[in-house]
């Protein structure tokens, strides 16, 4: 039994020694946590080309090949990047913090985009931060192509989403409202809107429609009309949400409702009265 123990111990020691030797001789097989980027495959067996023991990946190791003034302009072989990839924008020269590993990592495969960590915008100069399109593409959708304001009006530097702005909270783009932004938001001003850009709406028609119902404060259309659904606006009106948004008390709300009902009743009586008069006139004429 003792001999067995000695033999087992011997085998274990041999195995562990092989592990140590293997880690030293073949680090890419024994230690590497994943494939390197395509551009780094030539040095995949040379850990110390990028790493320094217990010190990570110092800046100098990266800049030995990727010279800071050339990043984004020339490849490490000296080929102009503009010719190779015209969409790339050089901004590394404007970095205020020089630490490659803050954004880049490796050993995760051949997909370059997976090696980019969350970018901290505070690492670049303010002039670059405020000029988003110097690095980012402006979205080519109908909403963004019309906007000339700063991206930061809706977006922040932590992430594109969630954007601060959600149009559905203000007005739903239903079937009747599939239109250009500028139909409602004139002069590229997204802080205000008008519903009179559509031929079906005119100030005089709106005034008539609302005053008939006893509504005199109707200029802020989307306050009640959150979509093209007429039933919805009635529900919304009855729910009293409009008044709560406007800071009215329930008492004021009730008064407004009462006023509205009285006005509707008066209108109904007037109409009935007019119909009766008309009926009497007809009868007189027939006699």
């Amino acid at each position: 039994m003792k001999l067995n123990t000695i033999a087992a111990t011997f085998i274990i020691v041999i195995f562990l020694s092989l592990c140590v030797w293997g880690a030293y001789q073949f680090p890419h097989l024994m230690l590497s946590p994943g494939q390197l980027l395509e551009g780094h495959t030539k040095i995949s067996h040379e850990c110390l080309a990028c790493h320094t023991f217990f010190k990570g990946t110092p800046l100098e190791k990266c800049t030995a090949c990727h010279k800071l003034p050339e990043i984004g302009l020339l490849t490490t072989s000296g080929i102009p990047i503009e010719a190779a990839n015209p969409e790339k924008v050089p901004f590394h020269q404007g970095l205020t913090v020089l630490s490659c590993s803050n954004c880049h990592t490796d050993h995760v495969g051949n997909k370059a985009e997976e090696t980019i960590q969350k970018f901290d915008h505070n690492m670049v100069k303010e002039s670059i931060i405020n000029n988003c399109v110097s690095c980012h593409h402006k979205p080519e959708d109908r909403l963004h192509e019309q906007i000339s304001e700063s991206c930061s009006t809706c977006h922040n530097q932590i992430g594109w989403l969630p954007a601060l702005f959600n149009h559905m909270n203000y007005f739903v783009f239903d079937a009747e409202h599939q239109t250009d932004c500028k139909t409602c938001h004139t002069n590229n001003n997204y802080t205000s809107y008008t519903c009179y850009g559509c031929h079906e709406h005119s100030p005089s028609d709106m005034a008539k429609e609302h005053v008939e119902e006893g509504i005199y404060d109707y200029e802020n259309c989307s306050e009640c009309h959150r979509s093209g659904d007429e039933d919805e606006v009635k529900r919304y009106w009855k729910s009293g949400k409009r008044d709560s948004l406007m800071g009215r008390s329930t008492l004021e709300n009730n008064k407004q409702d009462k006023k509205h009902k009285e006005h509707s009743e008066k209108k109904r009586k007037d109409k009935k009265h007019r119909d009766d008069d008309h009926h009497e006139d007809n009868e007189e004429n027939s006699h």
Binding site: A8, A23, L29, L31, S32, G34, C47, T105
Partner: protein
């Protein structure tokens, strides 16, 4: 008796080992689903700490620690090493990139399997021999005759008792590989 032994001990042993594997997959899947994979990295630290802490039982057994109930230390050893192994397994994930971490992970699994073998089979064997001895005593059998009757059982138990040696050897292999993995991580950090 054989059926009962399998159901109560062998099956329990396999079940606990299976639960470890299934739990590893589920936790890893959960972390991937809720996009908290980074937690896996830190589970490596927590798992290692728990496994190291579980060695307190060995210290108690060898009287280096002289306080506390050995039974409680054993229970802590069993739970801490199982949970620690789960954390290490989740830390390893299902990604195969290099041999050394997987040698360490494999050694971890072997240690758990070995530990579960000891926990169930050895305990059952000890109980079986004690029960047999008690039955003979109850029948009024003399001590010499009892020793003779349970000789082969005692031999088997003695052989099983030797299980501790390979268990400790495998544990040392795991510790060495894990330490080498940790050392190389810190050497080539980032």
């Amino acid at each position: 008796m054989k059926k009962s032994l399998f159901r109560e001990e062998v099956f329990s042993s396999i079940l606990l080992f299976g639960v470890l594997l299934v739990a590893t997959i589920l936790v890893d899947l959960l972390l991937h689903t809720i996009k908290l994979v980074w937690i896996g990295r830190y589970l490596g630290y927590a798992g290692t700490f728990l496994i190291i802490a579980s060695f307190a039982y060995s210290l108690r057994k060898r009287k280096i620690i002289q306080w506390g109930s050995p039974k409680l230390f054993l229970i802590f050893h069993e739970y801490a090493s199982w949970i620690g192994s789960l954390m290490v397994m989740v830390h390893a994930g299902i990604h195969f990139n290099a041999f050394l971490p997987w040698f360490a992970t494999s050694a971890c699994l072997v240690v758990v399997a070995s530990g579960l073998t000891g926990k169930f089979l050895l305990r059952k064997a000890q109980a079986f021999v004690s029960l047999k001895r008690a039955a003979f005593l109850e029948q009024g059998t003399s001590d010499a005759l009892i020793e003779e009757k349970i000789f082969w059982d005692a031999v088997a138990l003695d052989v099983m008792g030797k299980w501790r040696t390979p268990h400790i050897q495998i544990t040392l292999v795991f510790c060495f590989l894990a330490a080498l993995h940790i050392l190389t991580i810190f050497m080539l950090w980032k």
